[in-house]
Subunit: 165 residues, 2 copies
Amino acid sequence: MTHASLQGAGPEASSSPLYLEDFAPGQIYTAGPIPVSADAIKAYARQFDPQPFHTDEALARATFFRGLAASGWHTASLTMSLVVQALPIAGGVIGGGVDELRWPTPLRPGDELRLEGEIMEVRPSRTKPGQGLVRVRTTTLNREGQAVQTMIANLVVPRRPTENV
Amino acid sequence: MTHASLQGAGPEASSSPLYLEDFAPGQIYTAGPIPVSADAIKAYARQFDPQPFHTDEALARATFFRGLAASGWHTASLTMSLVVQALPIAGGVIGGGVDELRWPTPLRPGDELRLEGEIMEVRPSRTKPGQGLVRVRTTTLNREGQAVQTMIANLVVPRRPTENV
């Protein structure tokens, strides 16, 4: 398996957009770290997942999570922000569906997140000649290197226009 | 297939928490509608998915989405808020992983969302006697009844304590 690195995060990377032809199985990409505060966990949860283990440190102690933990959907949202940083795909990062999403370890306040992604498969579309699907496996890691999220997703990626080759 | 309804959304429903024994395949639950504004779409996207088709109406016109559309992860987050309303599970709604997540139609500003969920399977844990897994299929619908998200997920649900039976 080749482990060629794609360009990392940052504005300079986005100046050379990625097309389907730039992807190959085994490529690794990374982004982060980004910090995650208790305030951010609670602000997300108040909007989208208002349950005591996500909104209140004291109440959270007596719950399944034994302390404040981020909503899995907050972790997924933060992961998307890291994917957007890591992959300057031409036309943007456009999801073609998720086939697996797991939260093996709770994300805790004061932690930080980084992304490791691997390209699993690159497949031109059978019906749309201008695009294809890139299948990726992402692991979102906390400071201790534990996986707080794993995901297998498909991205819709345009083919490089022939006049630009 | 039985289509027994679970309690709908609202504080009165949360006063009778649901245990594993309360679930059965074929049960239907619903929640919503909730409105989705352009401001909400852009505010979520600025934090988690800062791409032009999610943050700027004018720039969005020339993109894949041909106009402003919500991030799929915003739709997923709003869906979680509807699941929390629909299912007053004892101890909270705790995700045991997602096996499929699709966004068949973009969510647009000014639309509204409602949730339809169906219980697919109820299974006591082989290793943890106090809990089990409930497999659900959810469809998140826009005002026109189009599916903007479909998901198959597993929830961790406690068994009813015997002293309460």
